[in-house]
Symmetry: C2
Subunit: 495 residues, 2 copies
């Protein structure tokens, strides 16, 4: 057996463990009885150690070296697979085992403390544990950066999103940062001239679920290779060919759950559309977090909140809930779908104010990792950012720097992917609409298939064959930029 083939076997085993972790995590959030937490932690820890040990096994390094001899006989996909194997291995061996453990312990302890600190508004209480997280993240950033020839914060960005750097993020964000205050102001003003009529009522969960499943099927979600369940925090997870997504329902509001379901559905169709022939191999994986977010946002934010889809949705909703009246017109549903309202909470933010939430977090995490901002000053810096980007005075840390789990769970370098994802979505959707003029009109019939067809071909089926920048350029004909996103915001909110 060639070295390359042996590597395929080894990476296949690692993928099987990662898939198992995905199912265990889904189970923990949807099905697991409460008393099983301790046992589940043992299972997760044991599997993570096994997966890490398989990766850093010295024989793995040897085989990756020997596989150079196989390269002339490999096809494009195999060669890309070998490249991805090397990247993963390089990252895994770059971080000493004791740092891996210290880092994951610090994050687990801090995340646990955050769960009570947030409702209690107690940043001071969680700060010492957060300091541990930051210290271990900086050490990880340094170790990764040394191995990869990257600046420390770039090494963290790159871990979530291959090839992402501070330079790229600055290039993408800077024009929007300048334009944002006026954009938000004008959007709010325009909207005041034609306000949405509020929709209210009692929306039985069973009816919401049936509606959600119907819409999810039309998005292209394959229920033969996935499930929809309920969890406290919606997510998309599971395993290869077995994609588990969740939502949460409120009986006084169906719209959030429905849009949330479509959002996770966008993540899911990416997972379900990955190249089947490369299941279990690195080249068959999705291409990082911002591309993933581009899929959820293409289907939810771009398509499902469009005027076109609202024309399909309005009669569906009226039928499902037996409602009628002027607030149930397509026009009003669309107004609700694109309502702009500066607020404190990122996950509840609309498309126009959302970039402000991300840009302020990006500025803070760069400064913290770079050593230019101490944790003592983090809450005030956060509140200043909210004031300057959104014009609001944060009343308490619960609605300020304690609101998101990311930093406390060790996810430094993650936030930018949300906005890079929004920009990627806008660029891909523009390309899809150029490629097939029926893409948007089809939404009026609830037909997402032209959009899905484009994404399948341009993104999903390519796995990790290309690097992120190449993938987006191949799909859209242009290097990634913020221009299509800006044009989209102008067309939708300033029109």
């Amino acid at each position: 057996m060639t070295a390359y083939k042996q590597l395929e076997t080894r990476f296949g085993r690692i993928a099987a463990i990662e898939d198992t972790l995905g199912i265990l995590d889904w189970d923990a959030q949807t099905m697991m009885p409460r008393g099983a937490i301790a046992g589940r932690s043992d299972q997760l820890a044991a599997l993570k150690v096994l997966s890490h040990e398989l990766m850093v096994d010295p024989r793995m390094g040897d085989l990756l070296g020997e596989a150079a001899g196989d390269e002339p006989r490999l096809d494009d996909w195999q060669r890309a697979n070998l490249r991805e194997m090397r990247r993963r291995h390089q990252r895994a061996v770059a971080i000493p085992a004791d740092l891996v453990e210290a880092s994951s312990r610090a994050a687990a302890a801090c995340q646990h403390a955050w769960e009570t600190a947030r409702p209690a508004n107690d940043f001071a209480g969680v700060k010492p544990l957060l300091a541990e997280v930051v210290a271990t993240r900086r050490a990880v950033a340094q170790a990764l950066g040394d191995a990869l020839g990257l600046a420390p914060y770039d090494a963290l960005l790159d871990a979530f999103d291959l090839g992402s750097t501070e330079d790229e993020v600055d290039r993408l964000f800077a024009p929007l940062q300048r334009a944002l205050p006026e954009l938000v102001g004008t959007a709010v003003e325009n909207q005041a001239n034609r306000p949405a009529l509020p929709i209210s009522g009692h929306f039985p969960i069973a009816v919401q679920e049936a509606l959600g499943r119907k819409v999810l099927a039309s998005v292209g979600f394959d229920f033969e290779h996935g499930r929809l369940d309920v969890s406290a925090h919606p997510f998309s997870g599971g395993a290869s060919g077995d994609v588990r997504i969740t939502t949460r329902y409120r009986e006084d509001d169906f719209f959030s759950a429905l849009m949330g379901t479509i959002h996770e559905g966008g993540h899911a169709v990416y997972e379900q559309g990955r190249p089947e022939a490369w299941r279990g191999q690195p080249v068959g994986e999705s291409r990082g977090m911002s591309v993933h977010e581009s899929q959820s946002l293409s289907f939810e934010m771009q398509a499902a909140r469009s005027a076109e889809f609202s024309r399909h949705l309005a009669p569906l909703v009226r039928d499902a809930f037996g409602v009628s009246g002027p607030e149930w017109t397509p026009e009003n549903l669309h107004r609700i779908a694109i309502e702009v309202k500066p607020g404190f909470i990122r996950v509840e933010a609309d498309e126009v104010t959302y970039p402000g939430h991300i840009m302020l977090r990006y500025a803070i995490e760069k400064a913290v990792i770079g050593g230019d901002l101490s944790l003592d000053d983090l809450p005030a810096a956060f509140n200043d950012g909210v004031k300057s980007f959104l014009g609001l005075d944060v009343p308490d840390d619960r609605r300020g720097c304690l609101q998101d789990i990311h930093w406390y769970a060790g996810l430094w370098g993650y936030f930018p992917t949300y906005l890079v994802g929004a920009m990627t979505a806008a660029q891909l959707v523009a390309a899809a609409r150029t490629a097939d003029a029926e893409t948007w009109p089809a939404l009026e019939r609830g037909d997402f298939s032209p959009l899905l067809r484009f994404m399948r071909h341009a993104i999903h089926a390519r796995g990790c064959l290309l690097d992120r920048a190449e993938l987006i350029e191949a799909a859209s004909g242009e290097r990634l930029s913020g221009v299509p996103h800006h044009q989209h915001l102008v067309a939708r909110y300033l029109g």
Copy 2:
């Protein structure tokens, strides 16, 4: 760290993988979308290989040797833990890796073929694959027997039930085999004099489920450490401290599902009652299949089908389904619970004819493994057994030798544990009733707690501290025999 402590860590990791396999298996039977089968097979295979590799790692053998030096300083539980570690290791290394793989491949292929062969009555079609299964099982039996100093079939028995041998099974079964024809005949006759009134109606599944959960809670099932779901084939599984049981409902019959739920509940309370301090260690596990079956049968067959429990159940059932009439009296429900009717299907058999089903299978599998019966002659031998034990003519193999999955899935040596379990249950229940005279009267109030208390103390909390024979003797004051079981049958069916 002592060698013993290092072994605890290693076995803890293996247990975490086994627990994970339990959750994945539960998921596959209850939740998994159909298209995920291939990926799930990869996950299971990868985890089984990892678990096996951890066990047969040469360092494991070294540590087990070195731990002899630690033994003087170990307490009783630790010493028993080390003994169980050695047993597991000895079994694992006894079977060459290629035989492990050949055996599991043969079983998987044959089980798959059986799924279509059974409904098609096609024993001839599955026979070549069954021959592979038998060949690999015989090789496994030989290898295990050589390592353990056991005859081949004893090595298979012992794998499911520590210390079980053909001699012991013969000693237990022979008296019942002689008495059975008369027992069945008299029971059927007695029953004809006071037949049960049939119960029929429409029993909504939601109501059945609520009733099942209520009864399951009174059995002692802890929903904080377990779940009840639905699957095509009811089972008890899951992980340590996270026990997942299933049932299946029919709207025209609530009784089977209810008794099935209590049966799995008996398995579950054993799992939930294992010693928490030894979670993840071999000594903390349950003590083999017949002891496990004794728990399900104590709670279902002995307790829940008693006249006493029927007095509690009748008003519960009348209230739940809104039914009344002479067929809903405690007396009639009890008659239904203990109805004797010779039939073809083992899993539908009553308590009196059930031993016949097991004894005929035991005779056949001994002969096949011993080389005294060829697979060509298996269907006829099976049908002869049904005729001689139950007096029935088998109409087709679907209702004959194709009915059970066991042989086709490689589970040779498993069948005797069902009847040894019934005998163990009778002996333990007799001891529980002697220890606390309130044990049976409490059932009239739906109170299983005296029975559970006895089992917790005598069986569950002891894990694998004792060997099976010692455990039963410590619990009941006597060596395991068929006498209490025979007395139970006489008291219940010939009274």
